[in-house]
């Protein structure tokens, strides 16, 4: 409580520029070599030889014996690590925490933009992050009906969300679209038209087309079958979404080429004047709707 310390201040002299000093023990004097009884003499370098004379060989040298780092054969553990997509994990526990604190609105579709605006996850698209993955730690505590869109999800997480009557979709964002998605305002300030979202590469297409992973390219009927199969596997009753009041919101899904919910590719957003400009040229419309 600040009360007693402020009362103590009342009896002390005025705080002026001459009275300020740092907390005792905050500033420690630096070690100065070559000065005085303790820093001087050999200045902490030892006695004679390569140590004192500063001519020690490089790190890892073992006096001529084949060093350890050359004895061990190479193996491609980290080969191509800078080309591997990474996904920032998001636990269901953290998602429930954000919903409970009111930072994420469950009555609207939950997008990566909403998660980043709530400061729930930090995505770095320049560090080979391709989005967020849903992890099923906290699936037993999770109890919220949401329409969430992530880039990867474990089976347990999918089961937990569908058990509570929500919808989960896995969609792909290429790095440029991802950069635009997480920081929309700096992109709109640039004045460029919204680009269309690229389709996934060859190795990721099977993942996003399979219904078990609830990919955005999969067939809706297959997804229904997969939902029933998962419910049977995990042993819960699949709630009927079409009879829900929020079913319209829950069924909202983005188009394959769309980045933002209300905006289509090709539009230009004018932030200072709060206007949206749409293209009228036929070729442009054809390109952006392909």
């Amino acid at each position: 409580m600040a009360g007693s310390s402020l009362d103590v201040l009342q009896n002390l002299p005025r705080i002026t520029l001459a009275n300020l000093r740092p907390e005792p023990g905050a500033r420690k004097n630096e070690k100065r070599r070559g000065r005085g009884q303790h820093g001087g003499n050999r200045s902490g370098r030892g006695h004679k030889g390569e140590r004192q004379r500063g001519t020690r060989p490089r790190l890892g040298f073992e006096g001529g014996q084949t060093p350890f780092y050359l004895r061990i054969p190479k193996y491609g553990f980290n080969e191509g690590h800078s080309r591997r997509p990474q996904y920032q994990p998001l636990t269901l526990k953290r998602l429930q925490y954000l919903i409970d604190l009111g930072r994420v609105d469950p009555s609207q579709p939950i997008d990566l933009t909403q998660l980043v605006n709530a400061r729930g996850v930090t995505i770095q698209p320049l560090k080979r992050d391709y989005g967020v993955q849903l992890v099923d730690e906290g699936s037993d505590i999770f109890a919220a009906k949401i329409n969430i869109e992530v880039q990867r999800a474990t089976e347990g997480a999918i089961a937990a969300i569908e058990r509570n009557g929500g919808i989960i979709t896995n969609s792909f964002y290429d790095p440029i679209s991802l950069g635009i998605l997480i920081k929309p305002v700096p992109f709109f300030m640039r004045g460029q038209p919204i680009p269309k979202r690229m389709l996934p590469g060859e190795d990721m297409v099977p993942y996003y087309m399979s219904a078990e992973n609830r990919g955005y390219l999969a067939d809706p009927e297959e997804i229904q079958q997969a939902r029933r199969a998962l419910a049977q596997k995990y042993g819960y009753v699949l709630p009927d979404i079409s009879k829900d009041e929020l079913c319209h919101m829950l069924a909202m899904r983005k188009d394959v080429r769309q980045i933002f919910f209300g905006l289509s590719p090709g539009w230009v957003v004018n932030m200072p004047e709060k206007k949206i400009l749409k293209p009228t040229d036929e070729k442009l419309l054809q390109y952006y709707s392909s």
């Binding site: 310390s5 201040l9 980043v116 920081k183 932030m271």
Partner: protein
């Protein structure tokens, strides 16, 4: 005992001397004090009592936490030299009654002094000093010490080995929240030591500097006074009155800083300034960390 009763002092000053004498509140008998000594404790107006009859002019805009109670102060006028306070104000405790972190005050004050500093001290190294390319005398045979150039650091007129090198910047930034906390701590310590006064507005009847000085002397505000208003345009009278005064200074509320607050003895805020400061300083307590620079539009930035 009679001698002590006719002294000007009250208990306040005796408290300061009490540390040298174990538990006595009386002054030592051989203490000689000048006759015109003034005890500042007796001149400070005590904070308003609970049952004051004056009206409450302003309440805190922001919602107060339940465990904190607002700080109450008098509201004065600058209209006449010796007028009674107009009313009372409530000040937010999270701005005007925070824990007095003197180490934060010191950190912010040193930052303010040093971040603008560019030291232009520069010395020439042995390669930059004019001359000194040729070996002065041959290596062996001359009987003198061996040297390679006349501008080595050993020589008179030679280069400096480890001197200051060129314009050097001491720029660093303290975290935004530390600087904000420094402002809050400065305001709280001024309030706690009763050097902070609230005024309804900075309107004076005359553009006379003497009027201001007499007003300050009558109210025992101190030697130096800092007047803070919200807008960058001040009334003509106060501008003229403070123009030639060295110890009485005017600043807009956006220019409020820890160094100015500590340099001046008294800080005078208007009611609008108090509202502005509370709004701006309390926002930092409950804000998200930034995603992109604050210059770009945010939906909830004030």
């Amino acid at each position: 005992m009679l001698r002590f009763s006719c002294l000007v002092f009250s208990r306040g000053a005796a408290r300061r001397f009490a540390s040298s004498f174990s538990s006595e509140t009386a002054l030592p008998p051989n203490l000689r004090l000048p006759s015109n000594l003034v005890d500042p404790d007796r001149l400070k107006r005590p904070p308003p009592p609970e049952d004051s009859s004056l009206p409450l002019i302003r309440k805190c805009d922001a919602a107060l936490p339940a465990h904190l109670s607002p700080v109450r102060t008098w509201v004065d006028t600058l209209e006449s030299k010796d007028s009674e306070p107009l009313g009372l104000t409530e000040l937010h405790p999270d701005v005007f009654a925070v824990t007095p972190r003197l180490d934060i005050l010191h950190a912010v004050e040193t930052w303010q002094r040093n971040y603008k500093r560019i030291s232009h001290a520069n010395t020439k190294v042995r390669s930059e000093v004019r001359g000194g390319g040729r070996k002065p005398w041959k290596q062996k045979g001359s009987g003198r010490a061996r040297h390679g150039s006349i501008r080595s650091p050993l020589w008179r007129g030679g280069g400096v080995s480890h001197g200051p090198r060129g314009p050097n910047s001491y720029y660093y930034m303290l975290p935004m929240k530390v600087r904000v906390q420094g402002l809050k701590v400065a305001l709280s310590s001024k309030m706690a030591q009763q050097y902070l006064h609230v005024v309804d507005s900075l309107n004076i009847p005359t553009p006379d500097s003497q009027y201001l000085l007499e007003l300050i002397r009558n109210r025992h505000w101190g030697e130096s006074v800092l007047l803070v208003d919200v807008s960058q345009e001040f009334p003509e009278n106060i501008l003229q009155a403070t123009a030639n005064l060295k110890t009485v200074n005017l600043i807009p509320a956006i220019g409020l800083n820890v160094h100015s607050m500590l340099k001046h003895e008294a800080v005078i805020l208007t009611l609008d300034t108090v509202r502005f400061l509370e709004e701006k300083l309390l926002w930092h307590d409950e804000r998200y960390t930034f995603l992109y620079p604050f210059k770009l539009p945010y939906s909830d930035f004030p």
